[in-house]
């Protein structure tokens, strides 16, 4: 009885988090964007140039990874703040972008009575392999025709 109820509430939290993430991205990036269908990841995930990790605690435990190439994040900074950003300032922007996306997602889903808190962002520079999760859900966000960033929600084991 307990386990299915737990799974059911976790599935609800995951579904609402995906919806909240999409609403957050739409609200933050002020140009037309398109979302690829969410897909399940059950093996290691390889990051491209740069990414940001945000820890989630509360009704859903896990991490959010937002990753892409430098050019894609630089384009996001340009459409959001009207300026080209590079080097260390781009790395700082990527961290703040992760903070804004996750924070706004947490705000959106608080309307569905799901309480989430987020950790300060950790920026990961360079290609990296992520394995420490049981399953993840990946969403691709495309803008300016060919710029793509991926959002991966990495969930802890359901029994934890």
């Amino acid at each position: 009885m307990g386990e299915p109820a737990l799974k059911s509430s976790q599935n609800y939290a995951v579904k609402e988090s995906i919806n909240g993430m999409m609403a957050s991205i739409k609200g933050i990036i002020p140009i037309e964007i398109s979302f690829g269908p969410p897909s399940l990841i059950q093996s290691a995930f390889h990051q491209r140039d740069i990414g940001v990790l945000i820890g989630l605690t509360g009704d859903l435990g896990g991490q959010v990874l937002i990753e892409g190439d430098l050019d894609a994040f630089s384009s996001v900074a340009e459409v959001m703040f009207g300026m080209k950003v590079e080097g260390e300032m781009l790395e700082s922007f990527v961290g703040e972008f992760g903070n804004m996306v996750s924070g706004n997602m947490a705000t959106h889903i608080s309307n569905s009575d799901i309480i989430l808190n987020i950790s300060p962002p950790t920026v990961v520079v360079g290609g990296s392999k992520f394995t420490a999760f049981e399953k993840g859900i990946k969403m691709s966000v495309t803008f300016n025709t060919d710029k793509v960033i991926n959002i991966i929600m990495m969930m802890k084991k359901e029994s934890e």
């Binding site: 300032m89 903070n99 924070g103 705000t107 608080s110 300060p120």
Partner: protein, 117 residues
């Protein structure tokens, strides 16, 4: 006004500094976490503090409480990506003058500064 900007992201501090300066105020200090903000507040005694919430070392809500206990007249504006009702209420109950949800624009910063000046 003399303003202390608090945010763990250098990019965000740069944005805030740029906007606040354009609005005719002076950014007298930059803090990268709550602990740093408390130390700089005591040293600089600014007219206003902008305070992020999710930061390493010490978060913005606890830094707000410390600053208000040191100086009950301190004017602090929260500036955070976390805009849940509970978070906003906690900040206001602890003496924050306004709560700006990121991302922000110059108009929203201007409105907040006018409110406290």
């Amino acid at each position: 006004m003399r303003v202390l900007v608090t945010d763990d992201a250098a990019f965000m501090r740069m944005q805030l500094k740029d906007i606040i300066s354009k609005l005719g105020h002076e950014v007298v200090g930059e803090a990268e976490n709550g602990k740093d903000a408390i130390e700089q507040y005591k040293k600089l005694m600014p007219d206003l503090v902008t305070m992020d919430i999710t930061m390493p070392e010490l978060d913005g809500i606890n830094a707000l409480k410390e600053i208000k206990s040191f100086d009950p007249h301190a004017r602090v504006i929260m500036c955070s990506a976390m805009g849940q009702q509970g978070m906003v209420l906690e900040a206001i109950q602890n003496g924050a003058k306004d709560f700006i949800v990121k991302p922000f624009n110059q108009d929203r910063i201007s409105e907040a500064l006018e409110k406290v000046s």
